[in-house]
């Protein structure tokens, strides 16, 4: 009962400030530009007959997967900010006054942000598939919009975005400082992890570890990504469901640690 109330309240929290649509707007623009841009490159290569890098059938999903491969940072940020802004603006005081059971509040936040992450996924896919399919069709490549595989990919992408938002919530409880959380998200997703993923492909044993990096796990879940396409060998990768479990485990562990530390502390 009170979990339903919490989810309703948390939903009002995230929809009643400007943040969601500012982030969504940037995400849609960024993802749409990447998908449209790469679509044009592939389309151009294809018609130039200099030999396509990939078979035509793999191109659409690769382009659509920009929704997650570049878009995932937005649900993470959104999830993290949903938590850190409570610390920053001291709104934990009224939140815990309304619902003194802090575990219920955090669970409600996790559920709400999971759903919001899926919402970000919908918008990101509209951007990547809209721009990508239009460009591909323009170059005479089948955008595969009727293919069941495409729609299975859509479902897995939505799950990935939802899990990324949940990871953001976990991160926010671990690092309640808003600035620190933003810096960590940006540095890790844009710099540290891409380097680690690249580095891990050098040897076999490091590739075994590298597949558990959150970004690799996310790409495994989605099933297609510009990163895996670029690094060539896709031999070492998790199954899609294993990728999903890795993301869920990261979210769960971070949230559990956070709930026992910053979330339990005195609110003053």
């Amino acid at each position: 009962m009170s979990l339903v109330h919490t989810v309703r309240s948390e939903t009002t929290k995230i929809t009643s400030t400007r943040l969601w649509w500012v982030l969504a707007l940037i995400m849609v623009g960024y993802v749409g530009l990447c998908a449209g841009g790469l679509g044009a490159i592939f389309g151009g290569l294809g018609t130039n007959t200099t030999g396509p890098v990939l078979p035509d059938a793999q191109i659409p999903l690769l382009i659509y997967s920009f929704a997650t491969s570049v878009g995932y940072v937005f649900p993470v940020l959104f999830g993290a900010l949903a938590v850190t802004s409570e610390f920053r603006f001291q709104s934990l005081t009224p939140t815990f006054l309304a619902i003194p059971r802090r575990g219920v509040v955090l669970t409600g936040k996790l559920i709400t942000l999971f759903l919001a992450g899926a919402g970000f996924g919908v918008l990101a896919l509209i951007a990547s598939m809209g721009a990508g399919a239009a460009v591909l069709a323009g170059f005479g490549i089948d955008p595969l919009l009727g293919d069941p595989d495409t729609w299975a990919f859509v479902g897995r992408s939505l799950l990935a975005m939802a899990l990324w938002a949940a990871i953001g919530v976990g991160l926010g409880t671990l690092v309640p400082s808003q600035v620190a959380a933003i810096v960590i998200v940006l540095a890790f997703t844009q710099f540290v992890e891409p380097l680690l993923r690249l580095g891990s492909t050098i040897t076999d044993w490091s590739a075994q570890i590298g597949q558990f990096l959150p970004g690799s796990a996310s790409d495994a879940l989605v099933g297609s990504s510009i990163y895996t396409a670029m690094s060539g060998t896709t031999s070492v990768a998790l199954e899609w469901w294993q990728g999903g479990l890795v993301l869920a485990a990261i979210a769960a562990v971070a949230t559990l640690i956070g709930s026992a530390t910053s979330w339990r502390r005195d609110v003053s």
């Binding site: 009962m1 009170s2 109330h5 919490t6 309703r8 309240s9 009002t12 929290k13 009643s16 400030t17 400007r18 943040l19 802004s85 603006f89 001291q90 709104s91 934990l92 005081t93 009224p94 939140t95 815990f96 006054l97 309304a98 619902i99 003194p100 059971r101 005195d266 609110v267 003053s268």
Partner: protein
């Protein structure tokens, strides 16, 4: 009409490292009256109230509402309304949405936010972002949050801070009316004079320790009762009073009469046919007793 329950503090203690912010506080706040929780800056008022509301974990002791700890209340916002001194809101949210967030969390009716804004006079600013609110408007919004669930108990930390004279008068009447309805009202302040006309009972702490509790009048320990009186013909008034045996001294706006009751002075002036332009009993003892209780070095 929701009725209040007593607030019970029992051996409540909080240490921050080596700092004993609150030490072994034990007292009860009764329904049906306004209780002032007083102490100088840093005395431990906010810490005590945060422990009462389950926001800060006590080092020892407990606090409850009619025997139930805040965290165990079935519907907290409908039982206890609280407003703490910190501005606890997201500046980018409108006042209506701010309240809607917590009304939904507590399962209150959809009309609760607007009703609360109406009560505190913010109905006209409901859709404005809270970040642009003035200090007084924020204070009112805090009060609206406290009133959201129409609770039987009100716990307000420094509710008068930042209000203009009209606002002070308004909140005074509101709190008195709520106490008269049988609710429990506990308000903190670091200034006795600020709440003197609002409270029935006082609980005074200093350095985290209880130093006095009782009715407001018990604080007035001075045995010199003074009356301030004024008339157009001030000289004649003073003369009459001296003849009646009073000690009289001149003030900027009237004369001060020692050891006097206002009623008696009024009667003397009336008998002498002197129209008065002012007459009031002075309670000089209150503030002095307060300062004595909290100690010379009571303030930070």
């Amino acid at each position: 009409m929701p009725t209040g329950v007593p607030i019970e503090f029992s051996g409540l203690t909080k240490r921050f490292g080596s700092v004993a912010a609150v030490s072994d506080l034990t007292f009860t706040v009764e329904p049906g009256q306004v209780t002032g929780f007083l102490g100088p800056n840093g005395a431990g008022k906010t810490t005590t109230l945060r422990m009462l509301l389950g926001l800060v974990q006590p080092s020892a002791g407990s606090a409850s509402f009619g025997g139930t700890a805040y965290a165990k209340l079935d519907s907290p916002l409908s039982t206890v309304g609280a407003s703490l001194e910190a501005a606890s809101f997201h500046p980018g949210r409108s006042a209506r949405n701010h309240l809607a967030v917590y009304a939904q969390a507590a399962g209150l009716p959809k009309t609760a936010p607007d009703a609360a804004l109406e009560k505190v006079g913010l109905a006209g600013y409901a859709n404005r972002r809270v970040g642009g609110y003035s200090l007084g408007m924020r204070q009112r919004l805090g009060l609206a949050f406290a009133l959201l669930g129409d609770p039987g108990v009100l716990v307000l930390d420094e509710p008068i801070n930042g209000l203009d004279p009209e606002g002070i008068k308004w909140i005074r009447l509101l709190l008195r009316a709520m106490a008269a309805e049988g609710r429990t009202v506990l308000i903190s302040s670091h200034l006795l004079s600020e709440v003197q006309q609002t409270v029935d009972e006082v609980v005074i702490i200093s350095h985290g320790t209880l130093v006095h509790r009782g009715e407001l009048s018990t604080l007035d320990t001075s045995d010199t009762k003074q009356v301030q009186v004024n008339a157009a013909d001030r000289d004649r008034l003073a003369e009459i009073l001296r003849e009646a045996g009073y000690t009289v001294s001149n003030l900027r706006s009237g004369v001060l009469v020692d050891n006097a009751e206002a009623g008696e002075i009024g009667r003397l002036a009336f008998d002498a046919g002197i129209p008065l332009t002012g007459l009031s009993q002075k309670r000089t003892g209150l503030e002095e007793s307060f300062l004595t209780l909290v100690g010379e070095e009571g303030s930070l």
